[in-house]
Protein backbone atom coordinates (compact mmCIF):
# COMPACT_ATOMS: atom_id res chain seq x y z
CA UNK A 1 0.00 0.00 0.00
CA UNK A 2 1.31 3.43 -0.93
CA UNK A 3 2.32 5.49 2.12
CA UNK A 4 1.74 9.16 2.88
CA UNK A 5 5.44 9.62 3.54
CA UNK A 6 8.74 7.86 2.88
CA UNK A 7 12.07 8.01 4.68
CA UNK A 8 15.14 7.40 2.56
CA UNK A 9 18.61 6.65 3.95
CA UNK A 10 21.66 7.12 1.73
CA UNK A 11 24.86 5.67 3.20
CA UNK A 12 27.81 6.67 1.03
CA UNK A 13 31.48 7.56 1.16
CA UNK A 14 32.72 11.11 1.50
CA UNK A 15 33.12 12.65 -1.98
CA UNK A 16 30.51 10.53 -3.73
CA UNK A 17 27.87 13.24 -3.65
CA UNK A 18 25.22 11.65 -1.46
CA UNK A 19 24.59 15.01 0.21
CA UNK A 20 24.06 16.57 -3.22
CA UNK A 21 21.82 13.68 -4.27
CA UNK A 22 19.64 14.01 -1.16
CA UNK A 23 19.42 17.73 -1.77
CA UNK A 24 18.37 17.26 -5.41
CA UNK A 25 15.94 14.48 -4.48
CA UNK A 26 14.20 16.77 -1.97
CA UNK A 27 14.16 19.70 -4.39
CA UNK A 28 12.68 17.49 -7.12
CA UNK A 29 10.01 16.17 -4.74
CA UNK A 30 9.25 19.73 -3.63
CA UNK A 31 8.94 20.74 -7.29
CA UNK A 32 6.53 17.86 -7.89
CA UNK A 33 4.34 19.23 -5.08
CA UNK A 34 5.34 16.97 -2.20
CA UNK A 35 6.49 18.07 1.22
CA UNK A 36 10.21 17.30 1.31
CA UNK A 37 13.19 17.66 3.64
CA UNK A 38 16.82 16.66 3.17
CA UNK A 39 19.70 16.66 5.58
CA UNK A 40 23.23 15.27 5.74
CA UNK A 41 25.14 13.69 8.58
CA UNK A 42 28.89 13.46 8.55
CA UNK A 43 31.81 13.43 10.94
CA UNK A 44 34.87 15.65 10.95
CA UNK A 45 36.13 13.35 8.24
CA UNK A 46 37.32 13.11 4.71
CA UNK A 47 37.00 11.53 1.30
CA UNK A 48 36.07 7.81 1.46
CA UNK A 49 34.97 8.09 5.10
CA UNK A 50 31.34 7.23 5.90
CA UNK A 51 28.90 10.01 5.06
CA UNK A 52 25.14 9.69 5.11
CA UNK A 53 22.31 11.82 3.93
CA UNK A 54 18.59 11.54 4.23
CA UNK A 55 15.54 12.59 2.28
CA UNK A 56 11.98 12.52 3.53
CA UNK A 57 9.12 12.92 1.07
CA UNK A 58 5.41 13.00 1.81
CA UNK A 59 1.91 14.20 1.03
CA UNK A 60 1.70 15.34 4.68
CA UNK A 61 3.93 17.89 6.47
CA UNK A 62 7.21 16.33 7.62
CA UNK A 63 8.35 17.13 11.14
CA UNK A 64 10.84 14.28 11.58
CA UNK A 65 14.50 15.38 11.51
CA UNK A 66 17.95 13.87 11.68
CA UNK A 67 19.19 10.39 10.96
CA UNK A 68 16.69 8.00 9.41
CA UNK A 69 16.77 5.07 11.83
CA UNK A 70 13.71 3.28 10.40
CA UNK A 71 13.95 3.76 6.63
CA UNK A 72 11.54 2.71 3.89
CA UNK A 73 14.33 2.90 1.34
CA UNK A 74 18.09 2.38 1.69
CA UNK A 75 20.43 3.46 -1.11
CA UNK A 76 23.97 2.10 -0.92
CA UNK A 77 26.31 4.33 -2.94
CA UNK A 78 29.48 2.24 -2.55
CA UNK A 79 30.24 -1.46 -1.99
CA UNK A 80 32.49 -0.53 0.96
CA UNK A 81 29.40 0.56 2.88
CA UNK A 82 28.59 -3.15 3.07
CA UNK A 83 31.98 -4.87 2.75
CA UNK A 84 33.85 -2.60 5.18
CA UNK A 85 30.92 -1.48 7.30
CA UNK A 86 31.29 2.15 6.29
CA UNK A 87 27.81 2.82 7.54
CA UNK A 88 26.27 4.53 10.57
CA UNK A 89 24.16 1.46 11.18
CA UNK A 90 25.06 -2.21 11.01
CA UNK A 91 23.94 -4.11 9.08
CA UNK A 92 23.32 -1.49 6.44
CA UNK A 93 19.60 -2.35 6.34
CA UNK A 94 19.12 -2.03 10.13
CA UNK A 95 15.66 -0.68 10.91
CA UNK A 96 14.27 -1.16 7.40
CA UNK A 97 10.48 -1.23 7.26
CA UNK A 98 8.27 -3.88 5.68
CA UNK A 99 7.67 -3.59 1.93
CA UNK A 100 10.78 -1.46 1.62
CA UNK A 101 13.36 -1.05 -1.10
CA UNK A 102 17.16 -1.38 -1.23
CA UNK A 103 19.24 -0.02 -4.13
CA UNK A 104 22.90 -1.09 -4.14
CA UNK A 105 25.64 0.30 -6.35
CA UNK A 106 27.93 -2.66 -6.92
CA UNK A 107 29.25 -4.76 -9.80
CA UNK A 108 28.97 -7.95 -7.76
CA UNK A 109 26.38 -9.51 -5.49
CA UNK A 110 27.13 -8.47 -1.89
CA UNK A 111 24.28 -9.93 0.15
CA UNK A 112 24.73 -13.08 2.22
CA UNK A 113 22.04 -15.73 2.45
CA UNK A 114 21.19 -14.38 5.89
CA UNK A 115 20.75 -10.85 4.49
CA UNK A 116 18.56 -12.13 1.67
CA UNK A 117 16.40 -14.25 3.96
CA UNK A 118 15.84 -11.34 6.32
CA UNK A 119 15.02 -8.86 3.55
CA UNK A 120 12.71 -11.43 1.93
CA UNK A 121 10.91 -11.92 5.23
CA UNK A 122 10.29 -8.16 5.33
CA UNK A 123 9.16 -8.17 1.69
CA UNK A 124 11.97 -5.76 0.86
CA UNK A 125 12.93 -5.63 -2.82
CA UNK A 126 16.64 -5.38 -3.63
CA UNK A 127 18.25 -4.10 -6.83
CA UNK A 128 22.03 -4.45 -7.20
CA UNK A 129 23.50 -2.69 -10.25
CA UNK A 130 26.79 -1.14 -11.24
CA UNK A 131 25.53 2.44 -11.27
CA UNK A 132 29.11 3.75 -11.39
CA UNK A 133 29.62 2.00 -14.72
CA UNK A 134 26.39 3.63 -15.83
CA UNK A 135 27.78 7.03 -14.87
CA UNK A 136 31.12 6.40 -16.60
CA UNK A 137 29.45 5.24 -19.81
CA UNK A 138 26.86 7.99 -20.05
CA UNK A 139 28.39 11.01 -18.31
CA UNK A 140 32.02 10.05 -18.81
CA UNK A 141 32.77 10.34 -15.10
CA UNK A 142 32.20 8.24 -12.02
CA UNK A 143 31.30 11.49 -10.26
CA UNK A 144 27.85 11.14 -11.81
CA UNK A 145 27.19 7.96 -9.80
CA UNK A 146 24.96 9.98 -7.50
CA UNK A 147 22.87 11.10 -10.47
CA UNK A 148 22.39 7.48 -11.55
CA UNK A 149 21.34 6.58 -7.99
CA UNK A 150 18.94 9.52 -7.95
CA UNK A 151 17.36 8.51 -11.26
CA UNK A 152 17.13 4.92 -10.04
CA UNK A 153 15.24 6.02 -6.92
CA UNK A 154 12.65 8.02 -8.81
CA UNK A 155 12.29 5.35 -11.51
CA UNK A 156 11.36 2.87 -8.78
CA UNK A 157 8.95 5.28 -7.09
CA UNK A 158 7.28 6.44 -10.32
CA UNK A 159 5.50 9.38 -8.66
CA UNK A 160 8.17 12.04 -9.25
CA UNK A 161 8.86 12.65 -12.92
CA UNK A 162 11.89 13.55 -14.99
CA UNK A 163 10.95 17.26 -15.35
CA UNK A 164 11.04 17.58 -11.54
CA UNK A 165 14.45 15.86 -11.43
CA UNK A 166 15.68 18.27 -14.08
CA UNK A 167 14.43 21.17 -11.98
CA UNK A 168 16.24 19.76 -8.94
CA UNK A 169 19.53 19.40 -10.81
CA UNK A 170 19.30 22.87 -12.31
CA UNK A 171 18.43 24.39 -8.96
CA UNK A 172 21.54 22.82 -7.45
CA UNK A 173 24.00 23.77 -10.18
CA UNK A 174 22.63 26.99 -11.60
CA UNK A 175 21.18 28.83 -8.63
CA UNK A 176 24.16 30.97 -7.85
CA UNK A 177 24.51 31.99 -11.46
CA UNK A 178 20.87 32.81 -11.93
CA UNK A 179 20.95 34.80 -8.70
CA UNK A 180 23.61 37.11 -10.02
CA UNK A 181 22.68 36.65 -13.68
CA UNK A 182 20.95 40.01 -13.88
CA UNK A 183 24.03 41.91 -12.86
CA UNK A 184 26.60 43.06 -15.38
CA UNK A 185 29.35 41.15 -13.58
CA UNK A 186 29.10 38.04 -15.75
CA UNK A 187 32.33 38.33 -17.69
CA UNK A 188 33.50 36.02 -20.43
CA UNK A 189 35.37 33.71 -18.06
CA UNK A 190 32.24 32.97 -16.14
CA UNK A 191 30.29 32.58 -19.36
CA UNK A 192 32.73 29.93 -20.42
CA UNK A 193 32.26 28.15 -17.11
CA UNK A 194 28.54 28.59 -17.50
CA UNK A 195 28.58 26.72 -20.78
CA UNK A 196 30.61 23.98 -19.17
CA UNK A 197 28.03 23.86 -16.42
CA UNK A 198 25.23 23.43 -18.91
CA UNK A 199 27.16 20.51 -20.39
CA UNK A 200 27.55 19.05 -16.94
CA UNK A 201 23.85 19.41 -16.24
CA UNK A 202 23.01 17.80 -19.57
CA UNK A 203 25.24 14.80 -18.79
CA UNK A 204 23.85 14.48 -15.29
CA UNK A 205 20.31 14.56 -16.62
CA UNK A 206 21.04 11.88 -19.20
CA UNK A 207 22.56 9.65 -16.54
CA UNK A 208 19.63 10.12 -14.16
CA UNK A 209 17.14 9.61 -16.98
CA UNK A 210 18.70 6.32 -18.15
CA UNK A 211 18.79 4.97 -14.59
CA UNK A 212 15.17 6.10 -14.14
CA UNK A 213 14.08 4.01 -17.14
CA UNK A 214 16.07 1.02 -15.95
CA UNK A 215 14.53 0.86 -12.48
CA UNK A 216 11.04 1.71 -13.76
CA UNK A 217 11.33 -1.39 -15.93
CA UNK A 218 12.80 -3.43 -13.06
CA UNK A 219 10.01 -2.34 -10.70
CA UNK A 220 7.44 -3.72 -13.17
CA UNK A 221 9.35 -6.99 -13.54
CA UNK A 222 9.61 -7.68 -9.83
CA UNK A 223 6.12 -6.37 -9.08
CA UNK A 224 7.19 -3.53 -6.80
CA UNK A 225 4.00 -2.07 -5.33
CA UNK A 226 3.60 1.75 -5.46
CA UNK A 227 5.41 3.03 -2.35
CA UNK A 228 4.42 6.70 -2.22
CA UNK A 229 0.97 8.23 -2.58
CA UNK A 230 0.76 10.40 -5.67
CA UNK A 231 0.36 14.12 -5.08
CA UNK A 232 -2.10 16.10 -7.11
CA UNK A 233 -1.50 19.70 -8.00
CA UNK A 234 -4.07 22.10 -9.42
CA UNK A 235 -2.69 25.41 -10.67
CA UNK A 236 0.45 24.95 -8.61
CA UNK A 237 -1.50 24.30 -5.39
CA UNK A 238 -1.16 21.01 -3.53
CA UNK A 239 -4.48 19.13 -3.26
CA UNK A 240 -4.89 17.09 -0.10
Amino acid sequence: MAKDSLKIRMPALGGQGAVTAAHIAATAADTEGYYAVSNPFFGAEKRMAPSESYTRIGTVPIYDRGEVIYPDIVMIYHPQVITMGKSYTMPFYAGIKENGLVLINSDIELLTKHDKDFLDSMNVKVLTRDFTKFAVEIAGTELATNMAMLGALFGALGTIGKPAIEEGIKDRFLKKYTASGGTASLDSVIEKKFKKKLDLIEKNLETASAAYDLTAEWAKEVGLEPMLEPVSMVDGVRQI
Binding site: H23, T27, N39, F41, A44, D64, R65, G66, I69
Partner: protein
Protein backbone atom coordinates in the same frame (compact mmCIF):
# COMPACT_ATOMS: atom_id res chain seq x y z
CA UNK B 1 28.58 52.23 0.19
CA UNK B 2 28.95 53.66 3.63
CA UNK B 3 26.79 54.66 6.52
CA UNK B 4 26.69 58.13 4.95
CA UNK B 5 24.61 56.67 2.10
CA UNK B 6 21.76 56.03 4.54
CA UNK B 7 18.63 58.14 4.01
CA UNK B 8 15.34 58.21 5.88
CA UNK B 9 13.83 55.91 3.23
CA UNK B 10 16.72 53.64 2.30
CA UNK B 11 19.71 52.00 3.96
CA UNK B 12 23.26 52.07 2.60
CA UNK B 13 22.64 49.14 0.28
CA UNK B 14 19.54 50.75 -1.23
CA UNK B 15 16.98 48.54 0.54
CA UNK B 16 13.75 50.31 1.46
CA UNK B 17 13.41 50.70 5.23
CA UNK B 18 10.31 49.06 6.70
CA UNK B 19 8.89 48.30 10.14
CA UNK B 20 9.40 44.92 11.80
CA UNK B 21 5.63 44.36 11.63
CA UNK B 22 5.65 44.91 7.89
CA UNK B 23 8.68 42.67 7.34
CA UNK B 24 7.36 39.83 9.51
CA UNK B 25 3.61 39.94 9.00
CA UNK B 26 2.58 42.05 6.02
CA UNK B 27 5.17 41.88 3.21
CA UNK B 28 4.17 39.37 0.49
CA UNK B 29 6.22 36.17 0.66
CA UNK B 30 7.45 33.64 -1.88
CA UNK B 31 8.43 30.02 -1.43
CA UNK B 32 12.11 29.06 -1.42
CA UNK B 33 13.86 25.78 -0.67
CA UNK B 34 16.96 26.25 1.49
CA UNK B 35 19.01 25.27 4.53
CA UNK B 36 19.17 26.93 7.95
CA UNK B 37 22.60 28.34 7.09
CA UNK B 38 21.26 29.86 3.87
CA UNK B 39 18.19 31.30 5.60
CA UNK B 40 20.45 32.95 8.20
CA UNK B 41 22.00 34.91 5.35
CA UNK B 42 18.54 35.85 4.06
CA UNK B 43 17.46 37.09 7.50
CA UNK B 44 20.62 39.11 8.16
CA UNK B 45 20.35 40.59 4.66
CA UNK B 46 17.02 42.17 5.68
CA UNK B 47 18.19 43.58 9.03
CA UNK B 48 20.45 46.54 8.14
CA UNK B 49 23.27 44.97 10.17
CA UNK B 50 26.25 47.21 10.94
CA UNK B 51 28.81 44.64 11.99
CA UNK B 52 29.55 40.94 12.24
CA UNK B 53 32.59 39.03 13.46
CA UNK B 54 33.02 35.33 12.74
CA UNK B 55 35.06 32.29 13.56
CA UNK B 56 34.65 28.92 11.83
CA UNK B 57 33.31 25.96 13.77
CA UNK B 58 30.98 23.22 12.51
CA UNK B 59 27.99 23.39 12.11
CA UNK B 60 27.79 27.20 12.01
CA UNK B 61 30.70 27.78 9.58
CA UNK B 62 28.44 28.04 6.54
CA UNK B 63 26.22 30.65 8.18
CA UNK B 64 29.28 32.67 9.26
CA UNK B 65 30.69 32.41 5.73
CA UNK B 66 27.41 33.52 4.18
CA UNK B 67 27.24 36.60 6.43
CA UNK B 68 30.70 37.37 5.06
CA UNK B 69 29.25 37.18 1.55
CA UNK B 70 26.66 39.74 2.62
CA UNK B 71 29.49 42.05 3.58
CA UNK B 72 31.13 41.48 0.17
CA UNK B 73 27.77 42.23 -1.48
CA UNK B 74 27.42 45.46 0.48
CA UNK B 75 24.61 44.53 2.87
CA UNK B 76 26.58 44.22 6.13
CA UNK B 77 28.60 47.26 7.17
CA UNK B 78 31.69 45.55 8.58
CA UNK B 79 32.83 41.95 8.80
CA UNK B 80 36.01 40.24 9.91
CA UNK B 81 37.26 36.99 11.34
CA UNK B 82 38.28 36.96 14.99
CA UNK B 83 41.27 35.02 16.30
CA UNK B 84 39.10 32.60 18.28
CA UNK B 85 35.62 32.61 19.83
CA UNK B 86 36.74 34.49 22.93
CA UNK B 87 38.09 37.17 20.65
CA UNK B 88 34.94 37.15 18.52
CA UNK B 89 32.57 37.58 21.45
CA UNK B 90 34.74 40.38 22.85
CA UNK B 91 34.94 42.06 19.46
CA UNK B 92 31.20 41.95 18.81
CA UNK B 93 30.76 43.45 22.29
CA UNK B 94 33.04 46.31 21.22
CA UNK B 95 31.03 46.84 18.05
CA UNK B 96 27.73 46.85 19.95
CA UNK B 97 29.06 49.15 22.70
CA UNK B 98 30.06 51.58 19.96
CA UNK B 99 26.45 51.63 18.78
CA UNK B 100 26.43 49.05 15.98
CA UNK B 101 23.70 46.50 15.27
CA UNK B 102 25.84 43.39 15.60
CA UNK B 103 25.42 39.68 14.94
CA UNK B 104 27.63 36.63 15.27
CA UNK B 105 27.24 32.86 15.15
CA UNK B 106 28.90 29.99 16.99
CA UNK B 107 28.52 26.37 18.07
CA UNK B 108 29.40 24.02 20.95
CA UNK B 109 33.05 24.34 21.95
CA UNK B 110 33.08 27.87 20.50
CA UNK B 111 30.32 28.88 22.90
CA UNK B 112 32.23 27.49 25.87
CA UNK B 113 35.49 29.09 24.87
CA UNK B 114 33.76 32.47 24.77
CA UNK B 115 31.83 31.95 28.01
CA UNK B 116 33.18 34.84 30.10
CA UNK B 117 31.80 37.28 27.57
CA UNK B 118 28.12 36.42 27.82
CA UNK B 119 27.44 37.79 31.33
CA UNK B 120 29.59 40.78 30.32
CA UNK B 121 27.29 41.28 27.30
CA UNK B 122 24.18 41.33 29.45
CA UNK B 123 25.85 43.44 32.16
CA UNK B 124 26.73 46.10 29.62
CA UNK B 125 23.21 45.81 28.12
CA UNK B 126 24.31 45.40 24.51
CA UNK B 127 21.56 44.14 22.19
CA UNK B 128 23.93 41.90 20.21
CA UNK B 129 22.46 38.78 18.58
CA UNK B 130 24.21 35.43 18.80
CA UNK B 131 22.83 32.74 16.50
CA UNK B 132 23.79 29.54 18.27
CA UNK B 133 23.78 26.35 16.21
CA UNK B 134 23.96 23.82 19.02
CA UNK B 135 26.56 21.07 18.83
CA UNK B 136 27.96 18.56 21.32
CA UNK B 137 30.56 19.76 23.80
CA UNK B 138 31.72 16.50 25.35
CA UNK B 139 35.10 14.91 24.97
CA UNK B 140 36.06 13.05 22.82
CA UNK B 141 35.27 15.72 20.30
CA UNK B 142 31.98 15.58 18.42
CA UNK B 143 30.60 17.87 15.75
CA UNK B 144 27.09 16.42 15.94
CA UNK B 145 23.87 17.98 17.21
CA UNK B 146 23.39 17.94 21.00
CA UNK B 147 22.12 21.00 22.87
CA UNK B 148 23.91 20.54 26.20
CA UNK B 149 25.65 23.88 25.64
CA UNK B 150 22.36 25.71 26.15
CA UNK B 151 22.36 24.81 29.85
CA UNK B 152 25.54 26.88 30.26
CA UNK B 153 23.81 29.89 28.68
CA UNK B 154 20.70 29.86 30.88
CA UNK B 155 21.95 32.15 33.66
CA UNK B 156 24.12 34.53 31.66
CA UNK B 157 21.43 37.24 31.68
CA UNK B 158 20.95 36.93 27.92
CA UNK B 159 17.56 36.32 26.35
CA UNK B 160 17.35 32.84 24.83
CA UNK B 161 14.94 31.97 22.03
CA UNK B 162 14.71 28.57 20.39
CA UNK B 163 13.76 28.10 16.72
CA UNK B 164 12.29 24.80 15.56
CA UNK B 165 12.98 24.88 11.84
CA UNK B 166 14.33 26.91 8.93
CA UNK B 167 11.26 29.15 8.76
CA UNK B 168 11.36 29.98 12.46
CA UNK B 169 15.07 30.72 12.28
CA UNK B 170 14.38 33.33 9.60
CA UNK B 171 11.51 35.01 11.44
CA UNK B 172 13.13 34.82 14.88
CA UNK B 173 16.41 36.34 13.70
CA UNK B 174 14.54 39.43 12.50
CA UNK B 175 12.31 39.66 15.59
CA UNK B 176 15.34 39.12 17.85
CA UNK B 177 17.05 42.39 16.86
CA UNK B 178 13.83 44.30 17.34
CA UNK B 179 13.03 42.93 20.80
CA UNK B 180 16.63 43.07 22.03
CA UNK B 181 16.89 46.73 20.99
CA UNK B 182 13.74 47.90 22.80
CA UNK B 183 15.01 50.62 25.17
CA UNK B 184 13.26 49.00 28.17
CA UNK B 185 14.73 45.57 27.29
CA UNK B 186 18.10 46.16 25.70
CA UNK B 187 19.89 42.91 26.53
CA UNK B 188 21.74 40.43 24.29
CA UNK B 189 19.74 37.73 22.57
CA UNK B 190 20.78 34.17 21.79
CA UNK B 191 18.76 32.62 18.96
CA UNK B 192 19.28 28.87 19.23
CA UNK B 193 18.73 26.15 16.65
CA UNK B 194 19.89 22.55 16.74
CA UNK B 195 22.97 22.15 14.56
CA UNK B 196 22.55 19.98 11.43
CA UNK B 197 18.84 19.40 12.20
CA UNK B 198 18.26 23.02 11.17
CA UNK B 199 21.58 24.43 9.93
CA UNK B 200 22.07 21.71 7.30
CA UNK B 201 18.47 20.71 6.69
CA UNK B 202 16.93 21.86 3.44
CA UNK B 203 13.21 22.55 3.40
CA UNK B 204 10.56 24.91 2.09
CA UNK B 205 10.53 28.41 3.56
CA UNK B 206 8.47 31.52 2.81
CA UNK B 207 10.51 34.73 2.44
CA UNK B 208 9.61 38.37 1.78
CA UNK B 209 11.44 40.20 -1.01
CA UNK B 210 15.06 41.18 -0.32
CA UNK B 211 14.73 44.85 -1.33
CA UNK B 212 13.30 45.74 2.09
CA UNK B 213 15.07 45.85 5.44
CA UNK B 214 14.68 46.90 9.07
CA UNK B 215 15.24 50.50 10.13
CA UNK B 216 18.74 50.99 11.55
CA UNK B 217 19.49 50.58 15.25
CA UNK B 218 19.32 53.79 17.30
CA UNK B 219 22.07 53.52 19.94
CA UNK B 220 21.05 56.83 21.52
CA UNK B 221 17.78 55.25 22.69
CA UNK B 222 19.83 52.72 24.71
CA UNK B 223 19.73 52.59 28.53
CA UNK B 224 23.53 52.90 28.49
CA UNK B 225 24.97 55.41 26.03
CA UNK B 226 27.43 54.15 23.41
CA UNK B 227 31.13 54.48 24.19
CA UNK B 228 33.14 57.48 23.08
CA UNK B 229 36.25 59.22 24.34
CA UNK B 230 34.50 60.05 27.61
CA UNK B 231 32.13 57.15 27.98
CA UNK B 232 33.49 53.81 29.20
CA UNK B 233 31.81 50.51 28.30
CA UNK B 234 28.84 50.14 30.62
CA UNK B 235 28.37 53.77 31.66
CA UNK B 236 28.49 53.00 35.42
CA UNK B 237 32.09 51.73 35.21
CA UNK B 238 33.00 55.40 35.40
CA UNK B 239 31.54 55.63 38.89
CA UNK B 240 34.29 55.21 41.48
CA UNK B 241 32.48 52.88 43.91
CA UNK B 242 31.80 50.12 41.41
CA UNK B 243 35.12 48.32 41.75
CA UNK B 244 35.44 48.86 45.50
CA UNK B 245 34.88 46.50 48.41
CA UNK B 246 32.08 48.13 50.34
CA UNK B 247 28.37 47.83 50.83
CA UNK B 248 27.38 50.40 48.22
CA UNK B 249 29.48 48.52 45.68
CA UNK B 250 27.78 45.21 46.53
CA UNK B 251 24.37 46.85 46.41
CA UNK B 252 25.13 48.36 43.02
CA UNK B 253 26.12 45.00 41.56
CA UNK B 254 23.21 43.15 43.16
CA UNK B 255 20.67 45.66 41.90
CA UNK B 256 22.25 45.67 38.45
CA UNK B 257 22.11 41.87 38.23
CA UNK B 258 18.47 42.10 39.26
CA UNK B 259 17.84 44.81 36.68
CA UNK B 260 19.39 42.73 33.87
CA UNK B 261 17.01 39.88 34.68
CA UNK B 262 14.09 42.27 34.96
CA UNK B 263 15.00 43.60 31.52
CA UNK B 264 14.82 40.05 30.15
CA UNK B 265 11.38 39.74 31.79
CA UNK B 266 10.26 43.01 30.22
CA UNK B 267 10.78 41.45 26.80
CA UNK B 268 7.70 39.23 27.26
CA UNK B 269 5.03 41.50 25.70
CA UNK B 270 7.27 42.29 22.72
CA UNK B 271 8.18 38.64 22.19
CA UNK B 272 4.48 37.65 22.47
CA UNK B 273 3.72 40.06 19.66
CA UNK B 274 6.60 39.33 17.29
CA UNK B 275 6.70 35.55 17.88
CA UNK B 276 2.93 35.11 18.04
CA UNK B 277 3.28 33.86 21.61
CA UNK B 278 6.05 32.50 23.81
CA UNK B 279 4.73 28.96 23.39
CA UNK B 280 2.90 27.31 20.50
CA UNK B 281 0.38 24.60 21.29
CA UNK B 282 -0.73 22.00 18.72
CA UNK B 283 -2.75 18.81 18.98
CA UNK B 284 -5.73 17.83 21.14
CA UNK B 285 -6.70 20.56 23.58
CA UNK B 286 -7.98 18.20 26.31
CA UNK B 287 -5.16 15.63 25.99
CA UNK B 288 -3.79 13.96 29.13
CA UNK B 289 -0.52 13.20 27.34
CA UNK B 290 1.43 16.40 26.77
CA UNK B 291 4.85 16.86 25.20
CA UNK B 292 6.78 19.95 26.29
CA UNK B 293 9.76 20.61 24.05
CA UNK B 294 11.78 23.14 22.12
CA UNK B 295 13.64 23.02 18.82
CA UNK B 296 13.96 19.71 16.98
CA UNK B 297 12.49 17.82 19.95
CA UNK B 298 9.18 19.59 19.29
CA UNK B 299 9.37 18.46 15.66
CA UNK B 300 9.78 14.89 16.84
CA UNK B 301 6.96 15.31 19.36
CA UNK B 302 4.64 16.52 16.58
CA UNK B 303 5.49 13.38 14.63
CA UNK B 304 4.66 11.34 17.77
CA UNK B 305 1.34 13.21 18.14
CA UNK B 306 0.45 12.25 14.58
CA UNK B 307 1.28 8.56 15.16
CA UNK B 308 -0.70 8.50 18.44
CA UNK B 309 -3.68 10.14 16.71
CA UNK B 310 -3.67 7.32 14.13
CA UNK B 311 -4.08 4.92 17.08
CA UNK B 312 -6.88 6.98 18.62
CA UNK B 313 -4.74 8.35 21.46
CA UNK B 314 -5.00 12.06 22.27
CA UNK B 315 -1.87 14.12 22.83
CA UNK B 316 -0.62 17.65 22.40
CA UNK B 317 2.66 19.43 21.89
CA UNK B 318 3.67 22.56 23.80
CA UNK B 319 6.58 24.09 21.95
CA UNK B 320 8.47 26.63 24.04
CA UNK B 321 9.85 29.40 21.85
CA UNK B 322 11.53 31.45 24.55
CA UNK B 323 13.63 29.84 27.27
CA UNK B 324 14.74 33.17 28.80
CA UNK B 325 12.36 34.61 29.72
CA UNK B 326 10.79 31.27 30.61
CA UNK B 327 7.11 31.11 29.58
CA UNK B 328 5.72 30.10 33.00
CA UNK B 329 2.12 31.29 32.41
CA UNK B 330 1.91 29.78 28.95
CA UNK B 331 3.28 26.42 30.16
CA UNK B 332 0.86 26.25 33.09
CA UNK B 333 -2.14 27.11 30.91
CA UNK B 334 -1.16 24.63 28.20
CA UNK B 335 -0.63 21.73 30.64
CA UNK B 336 -3.92 22.11 32.58
CA UNK B 337 -5.35 18.95 31.04
CA UNK B 338 -2.11 16.97 31.51
CA UNK B 339 -1.76 13.78 33.51
CA UNK B 340 1.60 12.99 31.94
CA UNK B 341 4.12 15.55 30.73
CA UNK B 342 6.94 14.18 28.58
CA UNK B 343 10.00 16.35 27.99
CA UNK B 344 11.96 14.89 25.04
CA UNK B 345 15.48 16.35 24.80
CA UNK B 346 18.69 16.25 22.79
CA UNK B 347 21.10 16.39 25.75
CA UNK B 348 22.18 14.13 28.60
CA UNK B 349 21.29 16.37 31.56
CA UNK B 350 17.70 17.25 30.73
CA UNK B 351 17.98 20.99 31.25
CA UNK B 352 14.52 21.62 29.86
CA UNK B 353 13.08 18.90 32.12
CA UNK B 354 14.58 20.77 35.09
CA UNK B 355 13.12 24.06 33.88
CA UNK B 356 9.66 22.54 33.36
CA UNK B 357 9.70 20.73 36.72
CA UNK B 358 10.73 23.88 38.56
CA UNK B 359 8.17 26.01 36.77
CA UNK B 360 5.26 23.66 37.51
CA UNK B 361 6.32 22.79 41.08
CA UNK B 362 3.30 22.99 43.38
CA UNK B 363 1.07 24.04 40.49
CA UNK B 364 0.49 20.86 38.52
CA UNK B 365 -0.54 17.33 39.50
CA UNK B 366 0.89 15.89 36.29
CA UNK B 367 3.69 13.36 36.36
CA UNK B 368 6.69 14.89 34.60
CA UNK B 369 8.78 12.38 32.65
CA UNK B 370 12.09 13.71 31.31
CA UNK B 371 12.29 11.26 28.42
CA UNK B 372 13.18 10.26 25.82
CA UNK B 373 16.59 11.83 26.09
CA UNK B 374 19.25 11.33 23.43
CA UNK B 375 22.75 12.80 23.28
CA UNK B 376 26.09 12.91 21.53
CA UNK B 377 24.61 13.35 18.06
CA UNK B 378 21.86 10.75 18.22
CA UNK B 379 18.62 11.36 16.43
CA UNK B 380 15.30 10.84 18.23
CA UNK B 381 13.09 8.57 16.13
CA UNK B 382 9.37 8.90 16.77
CA UNK B 383 9.39 5.25 17.80
CA UNK B 384 11.46 6.12 20.89
CA UNK B 385 8.87 8.70 21.99
CA UNK B 386 5.98 6.28 21.45
CA UNK B 387 7.80 3.67 23.53
CA UNK B 388 8.05 6.10 26.48
CA UNK B 389 4.35 6.91 26.14
CA UNK B 390 3.29 3.26 26.16
CA UNK B 391 5.60 2.39 29.07
CA UNK B 392 4.57 5.30 31.27
CA UNK B 393 0.84 5.79 30.64
CA UNK B 394 -2.31 3.71 30.26
CA UNK B 395 -2.27 4.30 26.50
CA UNK B 396 -2.04 1.07 24.54
CA UNK B 397 -0.09 0.95 21.31
CA UNK B 398 -1.18 -1.02 18.28
Amino acid sequence: MSIKDMTKEKNWSGQKLVSTDYLLFEAPREKHFMTGSEVTKEAIKRCTVDASVSYPITPQSEAAHLIGELWAEGYVGMYFRGENEFGVMSEVAGCAMAGARTVTTTSGPGTLRAMENFPMWSGTRIPVQLILMARGINSPLTIQPDNLEVTFMLETGCMIWYAENVQELFDMTIAAFTVAEMPDVHVPIVTVVDGFFVSHTREAVMLPADDIALHPYDPYAAPLPPIDSEMPPGRFLRDPFVMKSNYISYATHASWQWEVRSAVDRSRPYARHYLNGLAHVTGDEDAEIVFVACGTASNQAKEAHRELAKQGIKSKVVKLRTIRPFPHEELLAATKSAKYIFVPEFNIVGWLDKEVTQSLYGKSEAKIIGRPRVAGGMSMPVESILQEVFENTNAKGA
